[in-house]
């Protein structure tokens, strides 16, 4: 989910507490703000703090003027093989290739489990909106491959398309006789655990009171719960649990409709709760009718007509990713 969805959910959760709403109404208390802050906090801690303190073993920083896909693939394979051989995890940071203020060079990385290799392909130049500039793909030296001497295990069999802003990192770790490849290893670890949330909420509670602590914890907790519907789970009971769980794969974080409905539902909840705890409520319908008329029915209608408003993906990132997978399948079929 996008940050605003987590933010809105955190606020909505706080409004269920009559005491909090009345405190805001009568005492000008800011307690409900904590729900929003803690709703955003897990990702804030990750992307604004945690990310920068991750220690990596290898850094791949291709030159956009002379991208060398084979070099990239070799370094990735080296890190993977080392991790498998030594049993010690290895991390690799990949950087983007910035050409100008609004131009970047795209490239894709795919860990092929069937061929047990890593494939790197240099793509076209793209704008900051990730829209490719046709005809800018390199004519030569476009693809690099390197062998990985281990059976691969990945959270998601999905190529990584790297183009704008900052690049991802990978962690290679031996798990038995499998080599586990983790995308963004620093993300959703300690920051997406209920235990850390509880500790932070406890601190808040000690300073600002029990209600503040509870709302803070719930804002944090609902962020984690929402993320569990996606692809990447969370390390729910860090440090008791050591790694991220898998997500339910039900919704993409970047889904427009998904994000919109979470925000919309949160707004409806906020309005309903603020009203029912006010001195003179104006919403007279019971909660189930309220949500039926203002959420469920519109949601059904929108889901039904949404396909009519589908727009093509002009970034073509998914197209590049699909190409990797198709090639994997073609090669496997060849070998079958």
């Amino acid at each position: 989910m996008k940050g605003i969805a987590h933010f809105a959910t955190g606020i909505a959760v706080g409004t269920f507490f009559k005491e909090a709403v009345l405190k805001a109404l009568n005492d000008q208390s800011f307690v409900l703000v904590l729900g929003g802050i803690f709703g955003l906090l897990p990702d804030t801690l990750d992307f604004k703090f945690g990310k920068y303190f991750e220690k990596v073993d290898y850094v791949i920083d291709p030159d956009p003027n002379k991208p060398k896909p084979q070099e990239i693939a070799k370094i990735l394979a080296k890190a993977a093989n080392e991790a498998y051989k030594t049993g010690k995890p290895k991390k690799v940071q990949l950087h983007t290739m910035k050409i100008s203020a609004f131009r970047w060079r795209r490239y894709g990385v795919f860990f092929n489990p069937k061929e047990k290799n890593v494939v790197v392909e240099i793509g076209p130049e793209v704008s900051t909106s990730q829209v490719p500039y046709y005809g800018t793909e390199p004519k030569r030296n476009k693809v690099g491959k390197a062998k990985i001497k281990a059976k691969l295990s990945q959270e998601v069999l999905k190529p990584s398309i790297i183009d704008i802003m900052t690049g991802p990192s990978f962690k290679f770790e031996r798990k038995g006789d499998l080599l586990e490849i983790k995308f963004l290893p620093w993300h959703r670890q300690w920051s997406h655990s209920f235990t850390v949330g509880a500790i932070l909420a406890l601190v808040v509670g000690l300073i600002f009171g029990k209600l503040a602590g509870i709302i803070s914890f719930l804002g944090w907790a609902f962020h984690i719960i929402e993320d569990l519907f996606g692809f990447m789970g969370g390390n729910l009971l860090f440090p008791i649990t050591k790694d991220r769980t898998k997500g339910a794969h039900l919704i993409k974080a970047s889904s427009s409709l998904g994000n919109f409905f979470v925000v919309y539902a949160s707004v409806l909840i906020i309005l309903f709760n603020l009203d029912r705890f006010s001195n003179s409520p104006i919403i007279k319908t019971p909660w189930y009718l309220y949500f039926l008329f203002y959420f469920i029915i519109p949601a059904i209608l929108i889901f039904l007509i949404a396909p009519l408003f589908k727009i093509e993906d002009i970034t073509e990132r998914d197209k590049m990713a699909e190409k990797f997978l198709e090639e994997m399948d073609e090669v496997s079929e060849e070998f079958l």
Binding site: Q28, D63, N65, K98, I99, S100, A101, N279
Partner: protein, 475 residues
Amino acid sequence: MALDETVCGSCGRFVGAYEKCPYCGATVSKRLSIKIFRYGSLILSIAGVLILYLISLKREIPLININEISPTMNFAYIRVRGIVVRYPLFDEKSGSLTIHINDGTDELILKAYRNVALKIKELNRIPKIGDIIDVEGNIRLRGSLKTLTINVPEKVKIIESPVIEIDLNNISDDFLNKKIKSSGIVSDLRFYKNYISLFIKDRKGKNKVRVPINLNQFNEKLPELNIGDEIQVEGLLSYYSKNYNILISSASNIKKISKKPIVFSLAIENVTKNDLNRIVSIKGEIKKIRKFSKGIELTVNDGSGNISVVLWNNIYEKIKEKDSINEGVLVSVVGKVGLYKNKLQIVPALPQNFNIVKKEVKKSEKIIEKKIGEINEDDKGSILKIEGEVESYFNFSKGRRLTLNDGTGSIDIILWNDLLNELEDAEYIIKGSRISVKGKVSEYKNKLEIIPKYTSDIEVKELNKNLSPRNLESK
């Protein structure tokens, strides 16, 4: 060209705004102008804000006249000072406070909301009507409505305004929106659920001023007031609904001066419906006396007009000189003005409130008792008293003609309708009844007749109970 500044000379990679190449660490030269603005903005913004802050600390908040507030002053932070001209309103539900002030140039509404309003209340700085208030806030103009929003409760200062002592008859527009102290007689007093309508007048019964009392405005108990009480009132002078008003801020602003109610001496013509329930004193001559079952009604005239004076039986019986109560007698009466069947009347509450001033009756009004047979032409114009039996009667359009016979003779008695209608025993004044009549002898179509003037001139001595009123004949 910008491109040179954006590409590292060492490694040839795009560096954008970086002055040091993040890839290879080489220095990338940038235009001086950009460096100046970059670092200058940091330093100058912080310094500039501090300078503005220091300037603002030195700035006084301007005190302005309300009439100087113009539409272009919207949002200005100003100071005003004025007198509170309406009862401040603190709305518990919305948590807002509204105060109307006037500084002599114009009126302005002060508003405070929620916490600010509550804090003002907590600090006991809600002014009373008539207080001078000095306050700061932001001006807000919407259409013709001018308000000042108070944001800082601590900046609300209340100054007690001076009180001007003044007689009621000197009250004028010059004293509007000023605190005055004056005294007057309670001339009207009406009690409603949370409101008392109180009017005072001076001793001459003039210069009426209203003192509206909203009981919700204060918790203290008001002194017990009655019509006629002389009171001193202190409050803000205003003008509303064609009356000057003195708006009090607390119950202690009304003080009772007289121990007993003051009585107004009035000419009868000046006694009006406005004086209802007032204690007045009149003096005049009894013109008519009417007895009724519960008392006696006198019509008194002082030369300016007539008014009824009602003496209930319990009062009448205790009047010492009640036997002297006759027509023509000059009396003085102190009583409450009342209204009965749309007619004003004065009702004394005590026997001592009714006094006979002059018992003499005019010669021309001397009453002679005579036998009917003795009445002749020389008696024309005299007031005679006779007694006899009703021989016959008939009703005509303007009254009733009786023929009275006392055995010596008979004479016609004319009872005009106005008298007849007031006569209690009129239905029994028929053939066979014995009555005494006092009236003026006059002549009509060469025949003498007696015309009584007042109902008290007729007394039924003996009723003829055999005959019913249905036997009344008309000619």
